[in-house]
Symmetry: C2
Subunit: 250 residues, 2 copies
Amino acid sequence: MLPLSSQKLIYNPIINNLFSRSKSPHSKEIFQKIRKITGINSRNKEVYLLAVTHSSSTSSKYSNERLEYLGDAVLDTVIAEYLFKKYPFKDEGFLTNIRSRIVNRESLNTIARKLGLNEIIQHNARTDISKKKSSIHGNALEALIGAVYIDKGFKGSKKFIYTKIITPHLDIASIVNTPNNFKSILIEWSQKENKKIAFIEEKTEEDNRLFSITVMVEGKATGTASAKNKKKAQQLASEKACKALKVSLN
Amino acid sequence: MLPLSSQKLIYNPIINNLFSRSKSPHSKEIFQKIRKITGINSRNKEVYLLAVTHSSSTSSKYSNERLEYLGDAVLDTVIAEYLFKKYPFKDEGFLTNIRSRIVNRESLNTIARKLGLNEIIQHNARTDISKKKSSIHGNALEALIGAVYIDKGFKGSKKFIYTKIITPHLDIASIVNTPNNFKSILIEWSQKENKKIAFIEEKTEEDNRLFSITVMVEGKATGTASAKNKKKAQQLASEKACKALKVSLN
């Protein structure tokens, strides 16, 4: 294993490779916008530019995917601690559930667009990133958290997440008070207990506008429900499976 | 949302509740042993004692489960950064895969026992924690990381993980060079792509010592294999499914 000190040196080649690119007027403009989003005054342009570089971009050999992997972990830890402290008497099932509802793809995509990240993501012109549900936005937000972590360490990224994400964009109390997402409860349970689950989808014969979903747990049908949209059917089937398995939140 | 400063105050009630307990001679002895494991000289006995308190313990109203939730996230982040820096030219698929192989339950259980955590976990006498595969050990290790995080912050927990876990107990090069775990690759892929997968198990009719495993992806059989033990059959079936789906590592 490499000692801590030499590790600091070896992660830079990719970032250094972007250095020439970072001097173009276009890059300067993008970097100004990133600065406004983060509120961080940094000279470390390269890592921030990398954070908004989608893998489809032709202007760079490198993309934000590695930073996304890093930022995802940092965000999980910061939210974990936030909830740990905010809810001192709630058990870990509650904390895990609320966290997964905070950092879900949809919520991150929305926040990324509120921050204006969608407008500065560098991508191939043929790649459509304008769709409202595009995960490219949420992924770039995670990558930006990764960039802040590289530039300013854990404390800096925690401050960024608190001041630019949690405080302005997350209504934790309302998330807590919203009815539970039984599908995510079930998935968490299956991961913790190492059970295999699957959602089997069928159009019902009687009415093909109805979706029928069966939750399979270790190959055994554990809950079935029908509804006019797939998500609703998944929720209802998951709720039944949770009841059958006596899996509950808190 | 609570401001950062007041959040620091409110997570203490549970820990303070343990304070009286921490003065018993037995607790002092346990705490001495924890100190030896962590190498950390702290006055914050309570949080460390909580880290080794299993939920079956009758001597405390509280258990290490919340700390485990916190430590799990911290460990993920520290390992994420370690690999990010160690492998600057590997993509996030590689990094995610290696991390999941480092922090898997079995590996954490083994490290926990090497550290001697199994000898100091407080539990109900009727709860058998001696089994080699008991996750109680790995969970306590994660809780201990959570305790170090509460006591010494992110930097302190990073140091603990580097000096007491990675350096003495993890041979990363050998993990990287070990043939891939196709089941975990498949599970990671399914989570990333939001596909439902299930492992259906059958004893084969011809030979009931053989396990037959079918990987179902979105309800469709995607790979089947038989072997004399379940794990092997799962690996072979997953390998077939990975090939069929063109899912690969790197």
